[in-house]
Subunit: 411 residues, 2 copies
């Protein structure tokens, strides 16, 4: 009799975004004429940079003749893309990352989930709270946790609390953790990590032979050059950190699908025989066996991000979303809200007024202003009483949403 | 201390295709003027169908404006693609598959590997021998096998021998197997499964509550309408089989990346509590958590396969490769070789002459004729003494390769 992975049964049924969808649909059914503005999900809305479109169209044409046709590509991605990533994203910040330490994929959601394949099931895993739910759910599915408790947290998973009191940057723990997920600029709180803060984590990881899974999907929203763009700007990180990157938010690739994972060759772990092995080799084997490379067309599009035009166009795109975030911050602040994030990130994290729960505020915002956001409690216990607004929308929609809040939902 | 998945250490170091690459590169280094013709790897060579290129170019243009921009798509693929798949591939053969039983992905290599995520580690797994190495290696990596024995076979894995004596269709076993991988038309032997044969497997699976993982990547090469194109043509298969499909070989998508997995809602397993659960729900959760949908551009390209032009162009493409296979079959037969496959598949499976081992024949073919193929022993013990030639190349190259064999390597 075939037996299923029963860890899946531990997953809580009500995943955040489906529940939001359900409530929004009910509202629209009851209010068919309402102009609902969605500042909920972190999906981009503006056109793909022209440089990427030109490159992809050319790549499609390459497929028209035998001589320029591209079949199976290298599982880790084409060298011409990996080399550009190094040249533009790592070398200028002196990160000492080589092109063959980069693994191109179809997106960082896949990579942050699949990376667990190369780890055993007896690691102590830590996530921040609030957290991007994928980190948690993939660990549950993989059997790395126990059951959910009444609060919805999973036994065996270590939660690093990110609260207003610690400025949403959890204290470095004094317990031993094997694998630690960090995401900066942070989803959902929009906060950033200073070099000093990251250095404390790297030192912790080196002292405990831990591995940091560093999600840098939002790094291009950083506008202050003193804030690290990569964990590899920190001394010692090459020996303890894996970095995940994405073209989704900087170049609008959410529907195009491209990301990459960096595993320095210096990153080793000790195995039970006492030998030391390089994680790079393990991920390389995982990818070459279970993946067949990202689409040639898509990789050409990603490569165009690293042309002069592509750099200028992605900067314009990021500036546009950051201006939206700034507009949200300013409007909410002037209406009496307490807000965080939104300066180096496309997310504004606000404190719900009058001690409303996150979901009560969600309902109130939807009913009174027809604006959709994301309840902070959906990202974890410490998100309760907070709310995420995304800057991914047109200027007009963002402005209208803020005008409605000013008219109806002043604190 | 972070701990690694040490099952990876069980993998044999010398994977088939890298070893082929090494020998070919050495040969080229020593014979820089040789015109090497590669009939080894199963990669397509001919231009992408025009219908797909037109659709993809249009999809790239969709990304140029807010109104037609596509961000995150449904994790299981766009309905307009899934509905076409049903209409063209399943409905005409009365397969009774619904669009929401289809999960579009970035390729069937990923799907056949990732599917193990939803199964537990204590299933008895069976593969054919010879076999597509990915089925084996992903099970090793997942911890579903013991160590490799001296012969290179893994303890705990059940090998179904496909030999000349059984016409490369293994006998239905009398032992209990939980999960069985089948691939028809077969890679590497090029043989097909009749409806009678598949019915025996389905009956076996139903009797033992087993699950068949059916890889139909090469189905469009079938030219005899009495041979099933899908396992769902077989009564009862909806309750015991998962089917994997690919656009790689029929539409030349090896570099574009698109495939899909079919899990009928009727397919259930019993869990330890005694309850019955649908596998469809498990895979749905797996994909929505660890995958973000195939590229919009790519899905538009795949959808164009199901237009009138797309159907005609993919048929032309398949006919072209089948003519190559026919040419190889005829040439080798007339030179005294014993050949199998190549009639409903892009692979010709030949018996090495004079009892040469597969690798000895590989070296002889490369040295004497500058033609590269794939040693049968690379696919498993029963592949020893056999050799795979792929029909994926230009007509001219295939003809030249056969002329060289006729001149130098007659049996």
């Amino acid at each position: 009799m075939a037996k299923i992975n029963e860890n899946y049964l531990k997953l809580k049924a009500g995943y955040l975004f489906p529940e939001i969808g359900r409530r929004v649909n009910t509202f629209i059914d009851n209010n068919p004429d309402a102009n609902v503005i969605k500042l909920g999900i972190g999906d981009v809305t503006e056109p793909l940079p022209e440089a990427c479109r030109i490159a992809m169209t050319k790549a499609v044409n390459d497929m028209a003749s035998r001589d320029t046709f591209h079949g199976y590509g290298p599982e880790k991605g084409y060298a011409w893309l990996r080399e550009k990533i190094v040249e533009f994203d790592y070398a200028p910040r002196n990160c000492n990352i080589a092109a063959d330490e980069i693994f191109v994929s179809d997106g960082s959601k896949c990579d942050t989930g699949n990376i667990l394949d190369i780890f055993s099931h007896d690691n102590t895993i830590a996530v921040t709270d609030p957290v991007y739910p994928v980190y948690v759910d993939t660990n549950v599915m993989q059997g790395n946790t126990g059951n959910a408790s009444d609060t919805g947290e999973y036994q065996g998973l270590h939660y690093l609390r990110a609260t207003e009191a610690n400025n949403f940057t959890p204290e470095i723990p004094d317990t031993k953790l094997d694998i630690i997920y960090l995401c900066y600029p942070n989803n959902p709180t929009g906060t950033v990590a200073t070099a000093d803060y990251l250095k404390q984590w790297v030192d912790y990881a080196l002292a405990h032979d831990s591995i940091i899974l560093f999600d840098a999907a939002y790094r291009d929203f950083i506008t202050d050059s003193s804030i690290p763009l990569s964990i590899y700007e920190i001394d010692g990180a090459h020996k303890c950190a894996i970095e995940f990157r994405s073209f989704s938010k900087n170049a609008g690739f959410t529907g195009i699908r491209c990301g990459f994972t960096v595993i320095p060759k210096q990153l080793t772990v000790k195995i039970s025989s006492g030998e030391t092995v390089a994680l790079h080799k393990f991920w390389s084997r995982r990818q070459s066996t279970k993946f067949n490379g990202a689409s040639y067309i898509v990789q050409r599009g990603a490569s165009a991000v690293y042309t002069e035009a592509g750099q200028q166009q992605t900067k314009t795109l990021i500036r546009f979303y950051l201006e939206n975030a700034q507009l949200i911050r300013a409007a909410l602040t002037s209406q009496g809200y307490t807000v965080f994030g939104g300066e180096h990130a496309p997310y504004v994290w606000l404190k719900t007024p009058h001690d409303l729960t996150s979901w009560d505020f969600f309902d109130k915002l939807l009913n009174d202003t027809h604006v959709v956001g994301t309840p902070g409690s959906g990202f974890g216990l410490s998100g309760e009483g907070f709310f995420r607004l995304s800057a991914f929308n047109s200027r007009e929609n963002v402005q209208t949403a803020m005008d409605r809040i000013a008219a109806k939902l002043t604190v």
